[in-house]
């Protein structure tokens, strides 16, 4: 179908940070952070008009440095956080760099200037609309030099935007923000102890259990943390053969967790039984960098890999709707219920729905839209953002 064709948007810079605007539930909007060592980095706000298949963008300057990670506040559309590299040597003369230059990764919370939206009303094709982009307004730093490089910042899922966790080297720091988010204080922290230089590579704040759980990845292990006591709950040693790159919680099944890593695999875990993964997916031909559950239909799992592919899988057997949507006969007569499903239907087979090959470089980030559950974006290193939809046949199959 024509409108199922992917929509491609190219950034001028390389990029690996992508998020959907979590607090926005109407417009399909993604935020992309660029990586450039030589130029001012930008945050691209990408709006997608589903009806007309048109992308419109606006650009905000992020002068602090290249962006490694970006996440949006669940409460305030205008608030977002980034992890960025600050290289202190970039402005110094070359012959002394050796002694002074130092690259550190910091975290910060920002507010978009209120007028940004006005800019986006210009024609998206106009190349000049980014000529004098506005700056982000810094709300606060999430910095503590004692804790080292910040690898990611996590907002409390469905929270009021006042609690944030940052992962810095081997520390997990829980911050409390003031209502205006202008000030951040560490309320508690956990430290990963062990031999060698341990470093969190990524983490995820569980939306279940009143948001009291956190899962982190370091090297090949996945750990669960209780945020009330900041102590470890579980640890899946050797969850992957090599580095674990990303995690995601099943939004509907509280104990289910997906992980991906350098062994080209995506694994699904039930954290109550950590000896064996519930399911293994081995479809990518290189490292898998990102895994995402669909927010409402958790059988849909999206993965992005450095083999330049994005794969959408249908993991029905371990989803919250293993037999489809079961509805009573009474409900079947209810005209309002769209989720009618034949009860006698066989359990569906797990399958690969589709492999998207629009990217030509490694895909480091994939993200579902927070507004439209059938839409997702993927970002490759060369700055190409691709917006795709779940195939219609499947969509109707799930809905009807």
């Amino acid at each position: 179908m024509e409108d199922d064709a992917p929509v491609i948007y190219g950034l001028e810079f390389q990029a690996r940070a992508l998020t959907s605007q979590t607090a926005e539930s109407d417009a399909i909007r993604f935020l992309v952070g660029t990586q450039s060592l030589k130029f001012d980095n930008q945050i691209h706000i990408i709006d997608f008009d589903d009806e007309n298949n048109i992308i419109s963008k606006s650009v905000l300057l992020h002068q602090a440095g290249e962006i490694w990670h970006i996440s949006a506040s669940p409460a305030d559309k205008a608030v977002l956080s980034t992890c960025y590299n600050k290289s202190e040597a970039s402005t110094l003369p070359f012959h002394v760099t050796r002694h002074l230059s130092r690259v550190v990764t910091c975290g910060a919370v920002w507010r978009m200037p209120p007028e940004w939206e006005s800019g986006s009303h210009e024609s998206p094709d106009d190349p000049h609309n980014s000529h004098n982009p506005q700056n982000l307004e810094l709300l606060c730093h999430l910095d503590n030099s004692a804790h080292g490089n910040t690898s990611s910042v996590l907002w409390e899922p469905m929270g009021d935007g006042t609690r944030v966790i940052s992962l810095a080297d081997n520390h997990a720091l829980l911050w409390d923000l003031t209502e205006s988010s202008t000030q951040a204080t560490i309320s508690s922290s956990a430290t990963l102890e062990g031999k060698g230089q341990l470093k969190f590579t990524s983490g995820k704040w569980s939306p279940h259990h009143n948001c009291t759980q956190l899962a982190t990845a370091n090297d090949t292990a996945i750990r669960g943390w209780d945020l009330r006591t900041m102590s470890q709950i579980y640890c899946i040693e050797n969850a992957h053969g090599q580095l674990v790159r990303d995690l995601d919680f099943n939004p509907n099944k509280q104990y289910y967790l997906a992980s991906c890593g350098d062994d080209c695999k995506v694994k699904f875990w039930d954290v109550r039984n950590i000896n064996e993964p519930v399911k293994n997916l081995e479809e990518h031909s290189h490292w898998v960098w990102s895994v995402r559950y669909n927010h409402s239909h958790d059988q849909l799992v999206l993965t992005g890999s450095s083999d330049s592919r994005v794969i959408l899988s249908n993991m029905v057997s371990i989803s919250s709707e293993p037999f489809g949507h079961l509805v009573d006969d009474d409900d079947l007569s209810d005209g309002e219920d769209n989720h009618q499903y034949d009860k006698s239907k066989e359990p569906l087979q797990d399958s690969i729905i589709s492999t998207y090959e629009e990217h030509e470089d490694s895909v480091y980030a994939v993200e579902w839209s927070s507004a439209d559950p059938w839409l997702f974006a993927s970002l490759s290193y060369d700055g190409r953002l691709v917006i795709n939809r779940v195939p219609r046949a499947l969509k109707y199959h799930i809905l009807l």
Partner: protein, 861 residues
């Protein structure tokens, strides 16, 4: 017309009369001689020719007319003279005949007259004889009349005599019986008694006879008692026993009871045999000859058994040269003993029993009791019960036969077992025993196949362990030997790969030999001289299902499966399986796919003449499985080796501070390690796999292509990087480049050749390098160091891969990405890079052993 003839030839009348007369004479002669002579002419005359002068229908008129018409005068005259001549000769003949007849008549008359005289004389003599006879009759009648009285008396006397003799026999009977009893001449006693029994029975109303009868009864009871006692004692021989039984039967003993007794007696003896067998089954109480229990010596004698195995006390131990003093009897001996003792006794019992109870000619009242049927029924139950026990013992013994070393012993034992049971089958048709025996043989064969499979599997695993050790052993010594090895040269150290093909060939040869020897062992089951080999099971099911499927096919499947397990169980971190083993197994599986499986199966089919009644696993399916295993192993090998190199590269990138690094003076040691490892992998793979196809590459690859890559493309890429439009340009360039290059599949399946394997490993390594570089930030010298490193890799890696452009492309990407991630992208002069690399290539520093983490390597200058 006749009138015309008569009128025209009146002169012919005289000859007319002649033939008529002649005819009359003819008829008379005919009358006289019978028809002998004239038979022919009569036949001819029946042709009804009236012109035939000799024919019966001769018509003189017609003949005359004919003559007259046909003949000339001269001829007529001749005819007339001829005819007259004939008539004359006939007349003279007739006269002679008449004369002869007359003479004969005269002589006959004389003879008759003479006879008349003789008869008269005879009549007189006969009269005289009849008078004599009459007088004799008269005398005889007179004599018999006088002797009549005396004859009657004599007859009476002789009757009394016979009666008296009989009575005497009766009266003497008790005494005689007693005497017989004393002399133990039971047979005589019984026959005497039988003779008298009826008479005594008949005259039992008379007191005297009654007395005799009672006496006799008493004696016979005693005799029966004694017989029974004898029967019960059982010490007597089979012949005695049968005699006993016969007598007892004649004494009207109930046959059923006798059968039971006979059988129970036999049972006790057979049970002794069984106990003897069972004693052998018991685990040896102690080592040494006491373990050899002998049923003949019994427990009381056991202590006295001499300490040598060949002690004369036990015939079984004498018969067996196989018996070693420390071990228990082997299965052949056991079965032998079972056959010799139990089965032959059983046969004897059956034979004598049948002789006694079944095949006896039935007389009188015995016939009505239908003994044979009852007896046969009892015999069957008896044989079945005993045979079941025997079989359970045999089965227990067979189950103990675990060692698969020598199958011939078992087969011979089973053969003997089976053969001896045929005797039972012949003796006792319709018995379930032989079929049960066959069942046991079949079960044993099945069990044997299972054991062989297990043995093969453990053999395979053991050989793998051996290979593993062989692989591990030289490696330990190799780390020191690797010190002097040169890049690009044959890496003699480290993996000691020279032994890989040898290991492979030894492994596959030993497996094949093992399979062959197992097949040979199993083949014994179907040898022609083995009785049970002709059973339908052994001809069909055993060959196709047993040997082919459960043994050979299962083993091949096991090989594939266990090989696959190396890929899975080894874990993702490379696991404990040495990569060389993976490579070796992969080659093994591939060999299996190409030839070995077909060979083994053909061999099996030929040896066992397998006729596939049921569907069997196809060769292609097995080959497919083997190929799949080989592919999986090779993929895994690539992955493991790639991972090892990747880890080195990753650590070297991750642990270094690239921003503050010093100006590159040398190629990093890690890169040399990478090249060296790749070389040794190349050698290792080259030992087992063919070279494979490469895309044609330029003659002077290392120099020329690299100079293109670095000078033209790289320069254009970095030169304008200070203009504002730079990022677009680089992206554009790189994208255009990507448009024309194929997508690189990193962990893709490899082909079965060296180049493909090496390509896979290098792809994985370089891609890792790329991804790691992208996560770091570089200073000016960091970029330069990467440039140097990449150039170095470029110089050496192109020769390993199928398409050198792939290496170029990936290295390009690495340098490009580094430049992007560089704070101060000032590339190094190409000539300087080359000089550094040349220097690095010529003077290679001593490589650190593997145990030093690559992290420390990267800190070396």
């Amino acid at each position: 017309m006749d009138g015309d003839i008569n009128a025209t030839a009146p002169g012919t009348t005289p000859p007319d009369t002649d033939p008529a007369r002649k005819r009359r004479v003819h008829g008379m002669l005919k009358l006289y001689y019978g028809l002998n002579e004239e038979g022919k002419t009569v036949d001819q005359a029946e042709s009804m020719d009236p012109c035939d002068i000799n024919g019966p229908h001769f018509d003189p008129e017609v003949y005359l007319n004919k003559l007259r018409r046909e003949c000339s005068l001269g001829e007529l005259m001749d005819q007339e003279t001829c005819m007259v001549k004939q008539i004359r000769s006939l007349d003279s003949d007739m006269q002679t005949l008449v004369y002869e007849n007359y003479n004969k008549f005269i002589s006959a008359t004389d003879t008759i007259r003479k006879m008349k005289n003789d008869f008269k004389k005879m009549e007189d003599e006969m009269d005289c004889l009849s008078t004599n006879m009459a007088s004799i009759t008269d005398f005889s009648a007179r004599i018999s009349g006088t002797l009549q009285d005396q004859h009657a008396q004599i007859t009476k006397l002789s009757g009394v005599h016979t009666l008296l003799r009989k009575l005497q026999f009766l009266f003497e009977l008790p005494a005689r019986l007693n005497k017989c009893l004393e002399l133990q001449a039971y047979a005589q006693a019984v026959s005497s008694h039988r003779r008298a029994r009826c008479v005594l029975q008949q005259y039992s109303h008379m007191p005297s006879f009654r007395g005799i009868q009672d006496d006799c009864h008493a004696i016979m009871d005693k005799l029966a008692q004694e017989l029974r006692q004898k029967f019960r004692d059982g010490g007597s021989s089979a012949k005695d026993l049968s005699e006993c039984v016969e007598l007892l039967l004649q004494l009207d003993e109930p046959a059923e009871e006798l059968c039971d007794k006979f059988l129970s007696h036999a049972q006790s003896r057979l049970e002794a045999d069984l106990l003897g067998l069972e004693a052998e089954l018991r685990p040896p109480l102690s080592y040494g000859p006491t373990a050899v229990t002998d049923p003949y010596t019994g427990p009381a004698h056991r202590l006295s058994v001499e300490p040598t195995a060949g002690s004369p006390t036990g015939p079984s131990s004498l018969n067996n040269p196989f018996l070693s003093p420390s071990s228990r009897t082997d299965i052949l001996e056991f079965i032998d003993r079972g056959c010799n003792e139990f089965v032959s006794s059983l046969c004897l019992v059956i034979a004598s029993y049948q002789e006694l109870f079944v095949n006896r000619p039935q007389e009188g009242e015995l016939a009505s009791k239908n003994i044979p049927q009852m007896a046969i029924g009892k015999l069957h139950a008896f044989v079945d019960a005993l045979a079941t026990r025997y079989f359970s013992l045999v089965e227990r013994r067979i189950q103990e036969e675990k060692s698969v070393g020598d199958n011939s012993l078992l087969v011979r034992a089973l053969d003997r077992f089976h053969r001896r049971l045929q005797a039972v089958a012949k003796l006792l048709p319709g018995s379930a025993v032989p079929s049960q025996g066959t069942e046991i043989v079949v079960r044993a064969a099945r069990e044997r196949i299972k054991q062989y499979l297990a043995a093969l599997q453990s053999f395979y695993l053991n050989s793998l362990t051996d290979v593993r050790q062989a692989l591990a052993a030289p490696r330990l010594g190799g780390s020191s030997a690797g010190v002097g090895s040169h890049l690009g040269g044959p890496a003699t150290g480290k993996e000691a790969p020279a032994s890989l093909p040898e290991l492979l060939s030894t492994l596959s040869a030993s497996i094949l030999n093992q399979i062959k020897s197992v097949l040979a062992s199993v083949h014994l089951f179907t040898a022609k001289d083995i009785t049970f080999s002709n059973k339908p099971y052994f001809k069909g099911d055993f060959c196709s299902h047993g040997v082919r499927e459960s043994l050979v096919v299962n083993f091949i499947k096991f090989v594939c499966q266990s090989s696959r397990q190396f890929c899975e169980s080894a874990g993702d971190r490379g696991g404990s399986t040495p990569p060389a083993l993976l490579l070796l197994l992969s080659r093994l599986c591939l060999d299996y796919e190409t030839s070995t499986i077909t060979y083994i199966l053909t061999l099996t089919d030929e040896q066992f003449l397998v006729q596939h009644h049921s569907p069997v696993t196809a060769v292609t399916a097995l080959c497919g499985e083997a190929r799949e295993a080989a592919q999986k192993l090779l993929n895994h090998y690539v992955k493991v080796q790639g991972l090892i190199i990747s880890q080195m590269l990753r650590k070297s990138v991750e642990t270094r501070d690239w921003v503050n690094t010093i100006e590159p003076r040398n190629v990093r040691a890690v890169m040399k390690r990478v090249v060296e490892d790749t070389t040794s992998i190349d050698v290792q793979v080259g030992l087992l796999y063919e070279e494979g196809v490469r895309k044609a590459h330029s003659s002077d690859s290392s120099k020329r292509t690299f100079s293109v890559y670095s000078s033209s493309r790289q320069q254009t890429r970095y030169a304008p990087s200070y203009t504002p439009s730079a990022p677009m340009d680089t992206n554009l360039l790189s994208n255009i480049h990507k448009l024309f290059s194929e997508r690189v599949e990193i962990f893709s399946p490899v082909e079965f050749n060296k180049v493909s394997v090496l390509t896979g490993i290098i792809k994985i390594s370089l891609k890792t390098f790329l991804e790691c570089v992208r996560l770091r930030t570089f200073g000016r010298y960091g970029l330069q160091q990467i440039q140097v490193d990449c150039h170095y890799l470029q110089m050496y890696l192109w020769r390993f891969v199928s398409d050198e452009n792939l290496v170029h492309f990936l290295l390009d990407e690495i340098v490009g990405s580094t430049a992007h991630r560089c704070l101060d992208p000032a590339p190094m002069e190409q000539s300087v890079i080359e000089v550094i690399c040349e220097r690095g290539a010529t003077c290679i520093p001593v490589f650190l052993p593997l145990t030093v983490p690559p992290a420390s390597l990267s800190s070396c200058p």
